[in-house]
Symmetry: C2
Amino acid sequence: MEENNKSVGIVKTQFFQIEDNIELESGTLFGPIQVAYETYGQLNETKDNAILLLHALTGDAHAAGYHSEEDKKPGWWDDMVGPGKAFDTDKYFVIASNMLGGCSGTTGPCSINPQTGKPYGLSFPVITISDTVKVQRKLIEHLGVKKLIVAGGSMGGMQALEWAIEQNDLVNACIIIASTGRLTAQGIAFNAVGRNAILSDPYFNNGDYYDKELQPERGLAIARMVGHITYLCEDAMHKKFGRRFQDKDKPNFDFHIDFEVESYLEHQGRTFVDRFDANSYLYITKAVDYFDAAYKYGSLENAFKRTNAKFLIMSFTSDWLFPTAQSKELVQALTKEGKDVSFCEIESPCGHDAFLLEFETQTKIIKSFLAKERGLYEQSL
Amino acid sequence: MEENNKSVGIVKTQFFQIEDNIELESGTLFGPIQVAYETYGQLNETKDNAILLLHALTGDAHAAGYHSEEDKKPGWWDDMVGPGKAFDTDKYFVIASNMLGGCSGTTGPCSINPQTGKPYGLSFPVITISDTVKVQRKLIEHLGVKKLIVAGGSMGGMQALEWAIEQNDLVNACIIIASTGRLTAQGIAFNAVGRNAILSDPYFNNGDYYDKELQPERGLAIARMVGHITYLCEDAMHKKFGRRFQDKDKPNFDFHIDFEVESYLEHQGRTFVDRFDANSYLYITKAVDYFDAAYKYGSLENAFKRTNAKFLIMSFTSDWLFPTAQSKELVQALTKEGKDVSFCEIESPCGHDAFLLEFETQTKIIKSFLAKERGLYEQSL
């Protein structure tokens, strides 16, 4: 744990159990579900100062702080969550939970199916963004929250959007960062390649690998490598690695790692398999592919008719996975419907990953958005 | 064979044998080498009307015409090669050869090593763009060509560049389309993912799979899928496939193919393995990674000091693999050195693949470039 007086400090992941079945979008009834979550700050008496943070593809409930004094790395959005930070834990009760289908404490394909005593594997039902939001709602109700703000980057933005449209009775405000109303064909294609790599791994064994000595690590690593390229931007990648050789000054003339960028990708792939489950990668990318905010209502405009939340939408100049044009589609549809929407495109060389890195600019914008939202709220008291 | 009075008609792949060893860039002496090639049109008496076409990553010697009356598809650049076409076979002697390390007739990892009587596999030496150009030079000399024009798209453009710089005594003009002086880190990263997919395939068997029942088809298919995404542009891809489901109107809720774009990618991968060798994919992508026109001379400018060829450089607006900026780097370096260079960025929605598709605009520009080059030549007679 680094010295940081703005940290939320030591936190503990908590668990909430949903005993009843939930009806999933596919029609399947599924339960029980355990939800891993963390909270930072205090819920006020009127129970309306909550912010729900929604994680991206490979995130988890550990958004901020440290799990122990020995922890070297804090939660994934630690720069944004804490006293005085963008999501100010002196003012707000901040909640983060691992998504349904994940592998970090919430029920997913690696969880034990109580009916068989074995991990679900591919018998786990295919889930959607809507399903995971339904599960989050159960958690929010369990915590006694009456009104909340939702916020997320990338797939987290999709969940925030789903919350604003489908769980509109609870949502005061919605912050969507580096996200989209739906994946384009190219986005689906990149996910499909990743899934193909996993499904083709000789140790995948139709998803039944948890008790095996060898696991589908190469397939998952390759999926991560493809994904990782799409999270960065070409320019910044070239500035960082260029064409430098790894630990030498000339080619190997073989098929081992030659260039620094290859070594970096290999490292990204290899470390990823230690913290993520191949089946979860399949389920979550599928949920991302399926998400389409406009689908059920025929258009984004129609979907947005359902919400009165205030929106803040942010994109990054160098994000080519969910480029600014996709954020603007959301902004335009909200504007057409006369909704309250603020939009900002942030100059950044960090590509899609900017939502995890560019915390200074994001903090200013989010603070100002929340102050306005809070001002209106305080006036109404 | 389609009715096309501009076709070069029925052509036959020919073979040329290099018996002596060639010294490769890695220092390895390698031989013998068989070169598969095709020619269209006639070499003139002064033997200086030749155009050498250089193929891209997965191309071959069959650039134009049909191999038989029954052939459904002509060569890969048939739209550009023939009587009256961009590469006009009424005027020019057009040559195309399969590159060293390929799998379409020129010696490569799938060829029989005469010393063992078995396919080379990974005992084939790692080759470079410079090596394949050296082999092409042997072919050109064998054909008696005294002066030539070189032309290629993508990796073919790299070979053209190498010809102009390293085999400058023979090159009158150089046409480089949708190409680059060197891959960026992102380009290397995409190739590395493809190679990883092949190397991780359970049937790869360290490259020794030719006599096996099962081959590294999934790995090669995945490599092709990744590559294919980079050859298209997001916009056109989304216009073509959107988020349409394949043969149905709702999700499967399983891990089979859901979206049209997934089906398309799967098809691209599956058909590719019928015509390409996984080992060749490793060798050729490595050659592409290694290519750096500036490396040996410290800068592009210094490299271009060596050539007096006239250059035509073309790029496409929607090509994000080798974007216009990379063509402009070549143009600027040539201009700094006072070389004769024409440049055109062509408006196209076809992404990197545009060099294989946008034949009308390319034809106009190439015809005009060649007419100018020919005019100067004819004046000098």
